[in-house]
Amino acid sequence: MQAKTSAALPQSYVGTRTVRPDGVDKVTGRARFGADFNLPGQLVGRVLRSPHAHARILSIDTSKAERLPGVKAVVTRDDFPDQSSEFIPAGEMMMNYRDVVRNVMAREKALYEGHAVAAVAATSTAVARRALKLIDVQYEVLPHVIDVVDAMKPEAPLLHEDLYTAGVEPKPERPSNIAKRVEIGHGDIEAGFARADVIVEREFSTQPVHQGYIEPHAALASVSEDGAVELWCTTQGHFIVRAHCARLLGLDIGKVRVTASEIGGGFGGKTVVYLEPLAVALSRKAKRPVKLVMSREEVFKASGPTSGARIKVKLGATKAGKFTGAFAELKYQAGAFQGSPVQPGTMCAFAPYDIEHVKVIGYDVVSNRPKVAAYRAPGAPISEFAVESVVDELAKKLEIDPVELRLQNAAREGTKAAYGPKFGPIGLIDTLHAVEKTNHYTTPLEEWQGRGVASGFWFNIGGETCASLTVNEDGTVSLMAGTPDIGGLRASLAMVAADELGVPYDKVRPIIGDTGSVGYNFLTGGSRSAFSGSMAVVEAAKQIKADLCTRAAKLWELAPDQVAFENGHVKPVGDTNGRHKPVSVADLAKVAGKTGGPIGGVGRINAQGAGPSFGTHLVDVEVDPETGRVTILRYTMAQDAGRAIHPSYVEGQYQGGAAQGIGWALNEEYIYGADGKLQNAGFLDYRMPVASDVPMIDAIIVEVPNPRHPYGVRGVGETPIVPPMAAIANAIENATGIRFTELPMSPPKVLKALKERGLNGVKA
């Protein structure tokens, strides 16, 4: 089935809306996701999980389960050697494997409901389910703590007896649930606030929200008698999975081959391991392939989410609207193990603004919840929700248009960021002007309708990346990358390769290689895969072009500097110009064997020069004064992409992030009972936006080229989730006059606030 492509040579593909090469497989059901892989002799794996939020594990007796016919392997904490408490590089991330090994399989204690305690492999689902019931775990139930503020109290139940707050000197005398205190800033905030005519100070709270990918975690492992490991799984980084599994199970990295399946959404939640080490351990014991797939309930109880938090923000400004000083205090839940995204939260809080005096303090706090995982711009949406709400309130107090106030204080090239260094060329101001220019911004509103605006920032990263290009004997090109394609990466890389080599886009076939077939790649995350991957492809193409020039020069008996590569052809240049007919990549491919062998190049880089991406969102809401329901009427957003390789997939990142933000703002939350158990572990009561909850989302692509990227590209994937919560809170304030500081802004909360102010009642 040949899908149409929308562009043809010699025009450049970059910037056009081509059909993705993996598209046909995905609209026909052919594409194979995590749970779609099977092997002969495969066993069904199941995980036994803690029913308690906090309990000491006194004993685990698996003997009855092991004796059940059909059970081929059972694993517990005893199958995972303990790890020392030190930060070790896993890929580029620093991991404390003492925590990682305890999160994949509970050790001394179960630290949250759903914490894995044992796993079985059996010949059928029915047998596996029965086996779990036969595993006898003796628990000593301990008092639990869920809320971040409660967890910080001196008398709070202690999750880790050996956890002493880092970042405070001298070291505290007693352990606590506060893993770390961080601080960033510059200047003297007291002096800053002293110069302010107006100061707004407020407290905010946000709830943990799950990444909500539709594809549950899945892993299929096959370990042979000689210890060679084959692993298929759904992940944002199969090289990271390889590193974790090798470390946790004492394997040589070279013996572990991981293949990333098509991935059904990740948003940061598939950057860590859950099932993968269990599948390998079970298969190693059973000597048969073992497949593990999470239920939706397990996904909610045992993976992700991101932090809930308490935030204090204080912002001062002059009458004229110049920000003079800014302070914030962030308390982020890390879940059961340290490692919340509070550090980036502190760095991003005030990043969109040029403020002389800034101070942000953050606390990383453990409590009896699943360990948080990265979620799109980790930490930033939480702190920027609070700051952008306060900016809006300040605008109201100063009677300055909220966009104008932001423009007055917006970071631009040369501005010293709150976290230290100066910004290069950035597009915040351009995004503010872009939304200001829309007719959305000036369309009149009716009663109980409101309009809100908010901006957002995220750093973006580069990192280790490999991509290979091979010119086949017929001139077609095979492209291999090593970062899982989560939203159109293969299309973007193929477009860049086609432009670089001057070959038709549909003659480039991109695939994602397994860990044995392509060099090391950091994961798909940090909005890096298109940014870094395209740099690696450019590097690989450069090698091919140089090689082709050398070969042509030899065939023509010219000096290397007498030939050059121009849109898909090698041609003589200078005084030899025209002496030979230009020869195409395809023509040279035909004689590859006779001119030195196969033609190919490999880009191996640690991509630097990631350019931050700023965005500004504009939203209209309508509030039902009798029920507290908030309806999103209209949504417009502008974000700096540097250069959009594939505008449709850039817009898709924008729109998807905005929709996730709408859910975060209005209905998504983790609801715990007094027993410390999650009450809404399913899509029925964890309320992600459905198609009828959202309007069309107008995505405006602003392009302020990133000077450090050959095409000017910036990462775009994460920034879109930063502004929505504040934009919606600001719109609700505009509609009702009420400032909401607690997420989600769900109907009961909104109606309660309206009633308290006597605003509820029949709509006029």
């Binding site: 089935m1 040949q2 899908a3 149409k4 929308s6 809306r17 059909v19 993705r20 993996d22 598209g23 046909v24 995905k26 609209v27 026909t28 059901g29 594409a31 194979r32 996701f33 749970a35 779609d36 990444q211 909500g212 990918y213 539709i214 594809e215 549950p216 098509e262 991935i263 059904g264 959404g265 990740g266 948003f267 797939v293 239920s295 939706r296 989560i486 939203g487 159109g488 594939h646 449709s648 997939y649 817009e651 898709g652 990142q653 729109q655 998807g656 992030g657 905005a658 929709a659 996730q660 399913g682 899509f683 029925l684 992600m688 459905v690 198609a691 009828s692 959202v694 069309m696 989302i697």
Partner: protein, 158 residues
């Protein structure tokens, strides 16, 4: 107790399979018939990734027992394209970039096809409510809705 022996029609082909009572149609499609295009996102009828039609009626295959479909006709994503030709909805999803990760795409396509067979000219609001049982976490639905509207327009004129 012995497994149920079931004969049914899947994408026009007669099929025969054995299943336990508790096995769902989705289990049968994926594990027994190896039609893995229908996806399991929740097993509770809340995500729509397993959407199929049963005697022309749109259902979640995770909410149907395998033994219930004896003598009935099932259409899955694997039966949507005709030979070399993609269904207009499939083509429009590609042209509009109406998919990012693609896990929800089969469900959306099957559900959208069922809609257009009943109503060739639905409004944006009708499409959004018809598809409310299909969760997508990547796209914000924007390009999906546009693709369905464009496909509907093309199917009306052809």
């Amino acid at each position: 107790m012995a497994k149920h022996h079931v004969t049914a029609t899947v994408n026009g082909d007669a099929v025969e399979f054995l299943c336990e009572t508790e096995e769902t149609l989705l289990d049968v499609l994926r594990d027994t018939l190896h039609l893995t295009g229908s996806k399991e996102g929740c097993s509770s009828g809340d995500c729509g990734a397993c959407s199929v039609t049963l005697d022309g009626r749109l259902v979640c295959s995770c909410l149907v027992l395998g033994c219930e479909v004896a003598g009935r006709s099932i259409e899955t994503i694997e039966g949507m394209a005709t030979g070399e030709t993609l269904h207009p909805l499939q083509q429009k999803f590609l042209e509009h970039a109406a998919l990012q990760c693609g896990i929800c795409t089969p469900g959306f396509l099957v559900a959208s096809k069922a809609l257009l067979e009943r109503d060739p000219d639905p409004t944006e609001t009708e499409i959004r409510y018809w598809l409310a049982g299909n969760l997508c976490r990547c796209t914000g639905y924007d390009k999906i809705i546009k693709a369905v509207m464009d496909a509907a327009a093309e199917m009306r004129t052809s």
